[in-house]
Amino acid sequence: MDSDCTLQTAETLLQPWAEGYDHPEPNRLDVQVTAANLKSAVQELVKAHWGYLSAITGLDHPAPGEAEGEDQAGSSSSLPVEGTLEALYHFCCSSVWTTLRVNVPYSRPVIPSICDIIPSATLYERELMELFGVELPGTPSLQRLVLPDDWPDGVYPLRKSFTGFESPTPP
């Protein structure tokens, strides 16, 4: 690893685009970025050889009242809060983690693809697309990864709102 594997270095690298920092655990750094700044942030980490992309996690934050789960994102005001989808890009360098967190609303779930910077991200992005319904313009392959070919379009299993089909889907 060319760059110093510390959270300090990562913080400094990502400063121009960070909307907020968080240290949930001693060896982890969470950085909030907007979808627009994602690619620049990723580019910065890759250029400095800070670790490698380990995984892309998707999280579903439905609006309160739509699901039983507690809503982590969003404010607590009385305004109707729209549900969001969150994508976490986990970068691992030796034993420390930097996670870029991108929140996008249900109505416009678009996050730019990072496959031109990191080609191996295509598999993770395919999964994000088919299980959560996030659109990733620029991703090289739109093929399904784990869902069968005849899975109905527009149904995203890992969203909280999906609780299964009423009857078994016809083969």
């Binding site: 579903d60 030796s94 784990v146 299993p157």
Partner: protein, 365 residues
């Protein structure tokens, strides 16, 4: 590409094919015997496990996640338990850590021997296949004597382990390891000196260090190209802090290097297990775990026989998880296969596929 459509001859491998032990679909476009293009379709064993975890309690999930894969079931349970214990702020007693490490390493032995046999079979070397699987029975018997099961040992509990290893079992383990070590030396000799075998593995599937880093390879596949990635060394978990592991690297980056790395890891594992057995800490086997895990998110990693296993666990304070994300090592290594495949002969395809030690059940979850 349209001009070449008529010349392209697509050989499908899978989902049902004698080369694959699990279903997956590959399409190789060949020109004579040379592969010109490759594409991959996974998902035949997708069971929706990540969604299923959200409706089950923390304890039930342990049993569910162990069944993602048969060969690396223990490491899934370990990574999950470590993560949940971190969230709950619970420290597992040292004896339990040691036992977990021993079982994880025994699983590594079993997995590598299985892989050796399967790889030999793909290369048409059935004799090595039969011999290595016969020796693998030794490990299976050891695991059965510890846990009662040859596969899916289910040693982990949230907060500790279920079974103890007493003196008699420790003696059995030592004897088994002695036998296996002698056999492994023989396999090392075969893999590095047998002419026909070398003809199938040397220079095949070359991946340089830069390519490995760029493609995001993990595990023995990456270590065979000289990339130093090993979770047990980078961020030690369980007992790897007190009993450190030496990282095994090769620089050649071809199929033969992958064989050599895995066999070297076997030797390292034998040494490690003996060391732990000699210095086994005494104490409790479990500690109390709360039923509701406090809110939070955590990342836990483990070194599966195939590479880095990644768990992202998010709790919302109830007795059921909010989200568990599993990223298995085989998923990282697929990119390397697809890009390596072009330019090789069709006959090398099965060996290339098996060189990364694919586990389709892990991929698809």
């Amino acid at each position: 590409m349209e001009a070449h459509e008529s010349k392209k001859f697509v050989v499908p491998i899978g989902p049902q094919h004698p080369a694959l032990k699990e279903p997956g679909h590959f399409e190789f476009s060949v020109d004579g015997e040379t592969v010109t293009d490759a594409s991959l379709r996974l998902g035949f064993v997708h069971r929706g496990i990540e969604k299923a975890t959200e409706g089950r309690t923390w304890v039930q999930n342990l049993y569910l996640l162990e069944r993602i894969c048969g060969i690396c079931s223990d490491v899934h349970g370990t990574a999950y338990s470590i993560g949940v214990e971190k969230l709950a702020g619970v420290t597992v007693p040292p004896r339990a850590q040691a036992i977990r490490t021993i079982v994880a390493e025994l699983e590594r032995i079993h997995s590598h021997m299985l892989w050796l046999g399967v790889a030999a079979h793909e290369g048409g070397f059935d004799t090595l296949f039969m011999f290595s699987w016969r020796d693998r029975e030794t490990v299976m018997d050891l695991l059965e004597s510890i846990s009662g099961n040859r596969v899916n040992y289910s040693v982990n509990l949230l907060g500790g382990v279920k079974f103890d290893i007493d003196e008699k079992q420790a003696g059995e383990i030592r004897r088994g390891l002695d036998y296996l070590e002698e056999r492994t030396r023989h396999y090392m000799k075969v893999v590095t000196t047998d002419e026909t075998f070398l003809g199938r593995t040397r220079g095949v599937g070359l991946m340089s260090k830069q390519q490995a880093e760029l493609l995001g390879a993990v595990g023995p596949t990456a270590r065979a190209s000289g990339v130093e990635r090993d979770v047990r060394v980078e961020s030690p978990y369980l007992s790897y802090g007190e009993f450190p592991v030496n990282i095994m690297l090769e620089t050649a980056g071809d199929l033969q290097a992958r064989f050599v790395v895995r066999i070297n890891e076997l030797f390292e594992t034998y040494r490690l297990i003996r060391e732990i057995l000699d210095h086994m800490p005494s104490g409790e086997l479990t500690t109390r775990m709360p039923r509701r895990i406090p809110e939070g998110e955590t990342i836990s990693r483990a070194e599966a026989p195939r590479g880095e296993l990644f768990y992202f666990i998010k709790s919302n304070g109830s007795d059921k998880p909010e989200r568990i994300k599993v990223r298995t090592p085989s998923l990282c290594n697929w990119g390397s296969v697809i890009s390596m495949a072009v330019g090789h002969k069709l006959a090398d395809m099965p060996m290339l596929l098996v060189g990364i030690d694919p586990c389709f059940s892990c991929n698809d979850r």
